[in-house]
Symmetry: C2
Subunit: 151 residues, 2 copies
């Protein structure tokens, strides 16, 4: 049996999630891609940076916008290992991310399929294309391992 390979940006996002776990942060990783090239990476940094907004997606988006010198990441795609929360879904919309690829769904904190369903609101000014379930097994395993260790 041949297992379909993960897209390279999601493979990298999973590596970043592992880096987060090693630093005691919730293991979520994200990368921003433009024209097939990774332009910024991030993982959760809320504890390390004393910053409640430093989720992987926000970190990667802020770095990408700084690197590209534009508050709008038009034409950029975001890969993240976990379904974005309301804060991150809002940031993705504000940043004009073109395509969102995420790994594990998150019934407890996600706001794409669950809860606030930010992109499904009529008032949402920019809605990305959304693809879910890419690397969800690996992403979910990392999260479960992290929270089991901390119990």
């Amino acid at each position: 049996m041949t297992r379909w390979p993960l897209p390279e940006p999601m493979r990298r996002a999973l590596e970043l999630a592992q880096v987060a776990a090693a630093a005691g942060e919730v293991p979520v990783g994200a990368v921003v891609v433009k024209d097939g090239v990774i332009v910024a990476e991030g993982h959760n940094l809320t504890r390390t940076d004393n910053d409640p907004t430093a989720h992987a997606e926000v970190v990667a988006i802020r770095r990408a916008a700084a690197a590209l010198g534009d508050e709008r990441l038009t034409g950029c795609d975001l890969y993240v290992t976990l379904e974005p929360c309301a804060m991150c879904a809002g940031a993705i919309s504000h940043a004009r991310i073109g395509r969102l690829y995420y790994g594990a769904s998150d019934p407890k904190g996600g706001a794409v399929e669950f809860g606030a369903r930010v992109f499904a609101q009529a008032q949402c000014l920019h809605v990305p294309e959304v693809y879910s379930g890419i690397g969800e097994g690996e992403a979910g395993e990392l999260l479960r391992g992290f929270f089991v260790e901390r119990r």
Copy 2:
């Protein structure tokens, strides 16, 4: 007739909104208060900083958390001139803000009374007390003036 005075933190948030307008940013201001003292201030900086996440609330929360050396702003209150969007409502919840005071309601982009109604979701882990309409006349006037000038 005596007009009820604005709370001092909201008066300051309105000043910050004017500073934002003068810099070409959408005029929204925010302050974080702890034990009656302003511990951090912010206004929109998305254009200036090339940062799509730099809404007034996120800026003030990040600065407060950095100043207090804690990712959780337990016991802190946030004053902001406009109803928070989904991103900012999420950030307010993650930061464990105790009380949220806002000025103008925002049917187009707000996510407290409108749209994603982030705090009304069963999955929202921390819900602040919410007080609206404080300084809404002044806040709304600033925003209308800003957008009329840009048309």
